[in-house]
């Protein structure tokens, strides 16, 4: 049974070769996945054109059901984007080096999730030609963005998060892009030469690289929390029953991390198979992600209970009725499925045998994400159906147009992701080298001692820095 995160004796040259090969020669399943994604996107494009020409009514969206699957799915994709930050930034700061072989695709997932999420407010507008209205720019043409509205905050928060995440992904990839540049030919070499920004691996470059990576990680963590808190504010700052809940911001953040981690498990297994990454995406690393997912699932379940309890013991009779209605109303099958997938299914992650069984984990991760997607729908749908005014009660089921666009978004995300992993290294080569190096070094403490001795030797050859005591320099 494999117990180590990674084989410490793997050669650096082999790491380069394996990752570079993955960009050239994926399995046939990869191309089938690409074709499936293109088909899904095509369906969504057709549905969107139909909606564009006919009007938003064909999506079965009208008062009081104005939001439907579009906004539920928007929240889902925003949530999905948080796992990259979790895995990359938080685990980087706490020096959890098992993240190194897998954080790259998680960061890519963040960027592409945000790019997918950003489409939904635009699609949801109906009048797509006015999509620039969602940007709260200072207007001199009679448009008055309401900066007090969480919807305006969304635009700022998501733009900031997308920019920062994309930069974080790109900056972290520069040393690997230089490796690609050194090994590629033709158009790829031109692309990597431009993108690697002249990286040469100097100590100067590594020194500043370390700083920027740490600083960006420190920025991204509060940013990620703020982004999903702001998305939750879209709901919680209203007075709608079921939405006006103070636990919404942490509930949304926990849900975001949860769905992101579940998606990481799914993509981990897919990439491991498609690109033959068995040596890098190892079972012990998968186990660690599963444990993390389990812990977050328990937080999410707890916050669910808190929300139910707060509603039950509160004085908002309509909100209480809504809660009961979720339990046994027309949306009950979806609600109970959400609870089963979100709170019961994670217990599968608690068993070592199951955690080590890839097909089981693949199915479980899909079910977890189904649960998290249903959670978002169960936030949006029931509240709009059973609000304060009885004359506005209305059960609403999404039309085929909505379903097509929602499924198409999964195809869009999948397509972006699959293109990314074909063009860019989905395993961080330099960080895996570091990981292997440090693990190997851990068995040789004598080298560190020797190095320290050399470093603290008198150094007549080095000129002292201003204000520095030459006798302690370098210690």
């Amino acid at each position: 049974m494999q117990t180590k995160d990674i084989n410490e004796n793997i050669e650096w040259a082999k790491i380069n070769a394996d990752v570079l090969r993955s960009m050239e020669n994926p399995r046939i399943g990869y191309w089938i996945a690409v074709a499936t994604c293109i088909a899904m996107v095509s369906c969504a494009v057709v549905a969107e054109i139909y909606q564009y020409q006919t009007g938003i009514g064909v999506a079965n969206l009208s008062w009081p059901q104005m939001w439907g699957l579009y906004i539920a799915t928007f929240v889902f994709w925003i949530g999905m984007s948080h796992s990259g930050t979790l895995l990359s930034a938080i685990l980087h700061i706490v020096h959890a080096d098992w993240r190194k072989p897998i954080y790259r695709f998680a960061e890519a997932m963040t960027t592409f999730s945000l790019m997918t999420a950003g489409l939904f407010p635009i699609i949801h507008l109906g009048r797509v030609w006015n999509m620039y209205w969602v940007l709260p720019y200072v207007s001199d043409r009679g448009i008055w963005p309401n900066f007090r509205s969480p919807l305006s905050w969304d635009a700022f928060a998501i733009t900031t998060y997308l920019t920062s995440s994309a930069l974080f992904l790109f900056i972290g990839m520069i040393p690997d892009l230089a490796i690609c540049r050194d090994n590629a030919r033709g158009w790829r070499q031109k692309l990597y030469t431009v993108l690697s920004l002249g990286w040469q691996g100097d100590d100067r470059q590594w020194r500043h690289f370390r700083k920027i990576y740490l600083l960006m990680a420190c920025f991204l963590i509060p940013l990620a929390v703020s982004v999903h808190s702001i998305v939750s504010a879209d709901f919680s700052m209203s007075i709608m029953p079921g939405w006006h809940v103070t636990t919404f911001p942490p509930y949304f953040v926990a849900g975001a991390l949860y769905s992101g981690c579940a998606a990481i498990i799914t993509l981990f297994i897919i990439l491991r198979y498609f690109f033959r990454f068995e040596e890098y995406m190892t079972i012990p690393i998968l186990e660690k992600i599963c444990k993390l997912t389990f812990a977050i699932a328990m937080v999410w379940s707890y916050l669910n209970l808190v929300e139910f309890a707060a509603t039950w013991y509160g004085h908002d009779q309509v909100a209480k009725e809504l809660l009961l209605w979720k339990f046994n109303g027309p949306y009950a099958p979806f609600f109970w499925t959400m609870l089963f997938c979100g709170s019961v299914m994670p217990f599968a992650l608690a068993f070592e045998k199951l955690r080590r069984h890839l097909p089981t984990m693949f199915v479980v991760s899909l079910l977890l994400n189904l649960g998290m997607w249903l959670e978002r729908w169960m936030i949006v749908g029931p509240t709009l159906s059973l609000s304060y005014e009885p004359f506005a009660w209305d059960i609403n089921w999404p039309s085929m147009v909505q379903w097509a666009i929602v499924f198409g978004s999964f195809g869009w995300f999948g397509l972006l992701f699959l293109v990314f992993v074909k063009v860019f290294p989905s395993v961080s080569m330099y960080e895996v080298k570091e990981m292997v190096f440090h693990r190997r070094r851990a068995h040789r403490p004598d080298f560190a001692v020797e190095l320290h001795r050399r470093a603290t030797d008198p150094q007549p050859g080095r000129s002292p820095q201003p204000g520095q005591n030459p006798s302690t320099e370098g210690a």
């Binding site: 380069n16 900066f147 007090r148 920062s164 002249g198 040469q200 500043h208 920027i212």
Partner: protein, 175 residues
């Protein structure tokens, strides 16, 4: 006297660091560790112990960016909101501080990140031509120790490299 760039490629950090340690210990008169550039495929934690603390101004860029973002963000929002004077406010303030804090925070982070990136690009001297002595083996698995030396020190440096089992030596006349 002509000056040369010389680079030795080593198979591991131990040999490369040993060579640098000899330079630190003034084995070659007139050559100091300040002249050394280490090229490596990974970020090695002990590099600074060997080369000395060389510092990084990137955090200053970050601080400046964050302060700029917060200031600019708040002023940007306030200036936009000030045009609302022509609209009825319903008793609410023209420039609402609580809700502006959220957006100011987002812009603080946005500009903090952007300035950090700019600071990195400038400090690390990115987007410049690769050095003629750059070796693709550095991005693979070898460690490069590069120096700029006078002609008279060229051979002693080569000898030093050879003592530490250098795999390959490259040199060129410095422009």
């Amino acid at each position: 006297m002509r000056r040369y760039h010389i680079m030795g490629l080593f198979k591991d950090f131990e040999e490369a660091f040993a060579a640098i340690a000899d330079i630190r210990n003034h084995k070659i008169p007139g050559v100091s560790v300040d002249d050394v550039t280490l090229k490596s495929p990974i970020e090695h934690p002990e590099v600074e112990e060997v080369l000395g603390d060389r510092g990084s101004p990137v955090p200053k860029f970050t601080l400046f960016g964050a302060l700029f973002g917060a200031t600019f963000g708040f002023l940007f929002l306030s200036s936009a909101q000030a045009t609302f004077l022509v609209q009825p406010q319903g008793g609410k303030p023209v420039v609402p501080l609580p809700s502006n804090i959220v957006l100011t925070y987002e812009l603080l982070i946005l500009f903090g990140v952007l300035f950090t990136v700019v600071g990195f690009l400038i400090s690390a001297r990115m987007m410049t031509r690769r050095h003629p002595l750059y070796s693709e083996k550095v991005s693979l698995d070898q460690i490069g120790v590069m120096l700029e030396v006078d002609e008279k020190n060229l051979n002693p440096v080569k000898e030093l490299f050879k003592q530490h089992k250098v795999l390959e030596i490259r040199e060129e006349v410095a422009s």
